[in-house]
Symmetry: C2
Subunit: 326 residues, 2 copies
């Protein structure tokens, strides 16, 4: 842990009480001058640290920046997700970065954030707008012990975790639209792009990409998206702390990843269905040039959507584009 993070951790632990330079110096085994130098550096990054000659240091607020060490420290001990966190100012796509790490044999759990992406992408090769510091654009490397056919379970787990974290940080009641969009008041605020490398019956790795429109202004969206996409800030009329939300999401993802690894997928599927917009609804699902129309009945055991067609046949749907009929 870097000295910066040790200082921040100590100040956070003290909450509203100031911590003296002498105390920090003794605890962290560095000189008071070194503490002062790091505090100055943290202030330059936007950390609002009050320094009073008599009482010591107090952390008043954390800036809206993604600081890898600080995120790791705040996340604390997780099973898998966030064991390593890296933050890029700009990259083509965080999925590309994770993909390279995967090929280099890096262990699962590493997370890559980018303040902005020059070629962010959504599902099926669509563009994903990722303006600098307005959202959370990140990807996670996973090596699940699942067969490729079961990978939809991971989509379901990611969506439930993402929904839960957004709810806890904002008080909003987000809904999940099949397969992996998160909606607030019917508009998309977050999406998941899962890419996998596999053999016929073995997953080599999964790149789980997540984009959350946190503090975008309505004007940041192109006109054609304004009816279907929104941001947390736009819905709440106040900005949301990106690092707070990032930590909450990673924590929930770690917890839900552990749940599917432990064979608790059915419970997750129930949670998904409870907060989904899709189950029990008449839907039209487009998959390439194929289309299925029917009623979404439930999730199957691999995480696929089970749709009862007009002819009474039960179709197993993986992916696709869903339109709700009523």
């Amino acid at each position: 842990m870097s000295l910066d993070v040790q200082i921040l951790t100590a100040l956070r632990a003290a909450s509203d009480v100031a911590v003296s330079g002498a105390e920090l110096s003794q605890k962290l085994r560095v000189s008071r001058a070194a503490i002062w130098a790091r505090v100055e550096e943290l202030r330059s990054l936007g950390y609002d640290i009050e320094a009073s000659p008599h009482k010591g240091y107090r952390l008043l607020s954390t800036p809206d920046v993604l600081h890898a060490d600080d995120l790791i420290s705040r996340l604390g001990k997780t099973k898998v997700v966030g064991r390593d966190i890296r933050v890029f100012q700009e990259t083509t796509s965080t999925n590309d970065v994770i993909d390279k790490l995967a090929r280099d044999g890096v262990k699962e759990g590493v997370v890559v954030f980018a303040d902005s992406q020059t070629r962010g992408r959504g599902r099926l090769g669509r563009k994903w707008m990722s303006p600098a510091r307005r959202g959370l654009w990140f990807s996670i490397l996973l090596r699940p012990d699942l067969r490729p056919q079961e990978v939809t379970r991971l989509t379901v787990a990611s969506a439930t975790a993402l929904r839960r974290a957004i709810e806890s940080q904002t008080g909003l009641k987000p809904e999940i639209k099949w397969p992996n969009d998160i909606l607030v008041y019917g508009k998309k605020v977050a999406g998941i792009l899962m890419e996998l490398s596999a053999e016929l019956d073995q997953i080599k790795y999964v790149v789980l990409g997540i984009g959350v429109d946190v503090n975008l202004n309505p004007g940041d969206f192109p006109a054609e998206l304004r009816k279907i996409a929104t941001s947390l800030k736009a819905e709440l009329d106040r900005p949301i702390s990106r690092p707070d939300l990032a930590v909450a999401i990673l924590r929930e993802l770690d917890s839900d990843y552990a749940r599917i690894s432990a064979g608790q997928f059915p419970a997750l599927a129930d949670e998904w269905a409870k907060h989904g917009t899709t189950i029990g609804r008449d839907v039209v699902i487009r998959m390439g040039n194929r289309q299925v129309r029917g009623r979404a009945e439930s999730l199957g055991e691999d995480g696929e959507l089970l749709v009862r067609t007009e002819h009474g046949h039960l179709e197993r749907i993986v992916g696709g584009d869903v339109t709700l009929e009523k």
Copy 2:
């Protein structure tokens, strides 16, 4: 087309009749001296070309070498497979080479052969022995319009094509063992390793790797493999031409790939079943730490194996390790 290949093509077209240097010179628009120089070069590669001062040139035999231009020329026009062929003397694994090409956006159909692989691999991370010039070790880049769940169709298509090509070149009656081994008299002579890169509902690309034990001697196999693996040469007691077999396999693969692209999977599945060792048999299938026991009934529409378990339940099997019970 290189001058070498134009010369070889002209000599092959003439079959047993000699072609004069003057005729070649006129047809290929180069000097007789240039023709002579290339013939000398081809001879040094092992092409047995008779040169008679009065009659001209005659191709007596083709060496057992993989010559990219010559393979392309002999393959002739195909729909997809073999539009581009590259031959490496040695590589880690031809699947790795194709994977890199796929990431660079190369079009489907490119084939990479290697005379030897230093890290050849089989399914599930197993080692695949690939001694120099004793077999065919190659991979093909495909970008099928299939959902990841349908990719088993490609395994079935590859196995039928491979089986048919081996039969046509050797007269042997190879059998297919689920999911993608080719057996002769119960021993493995060829295998398929399919690796895919995909989103939830869209395949980005498939790397189809094929290994055929063509001219290995029994002594080339480690002792522990001799009971379960063999080569075409060992079974026939004579060597088989690797380039002839390579051309035959690529042609059959192109044809079967076109069949699944045209929605003719059911016919392929019938052919697979007819030459399979698996359908109608009692099987035990191990998939990771799971095991299914039952009777293999048929192939499903995505190419999966349908197994009726002891409890009467129909299981859809993708991959796995099969043991035939009787």
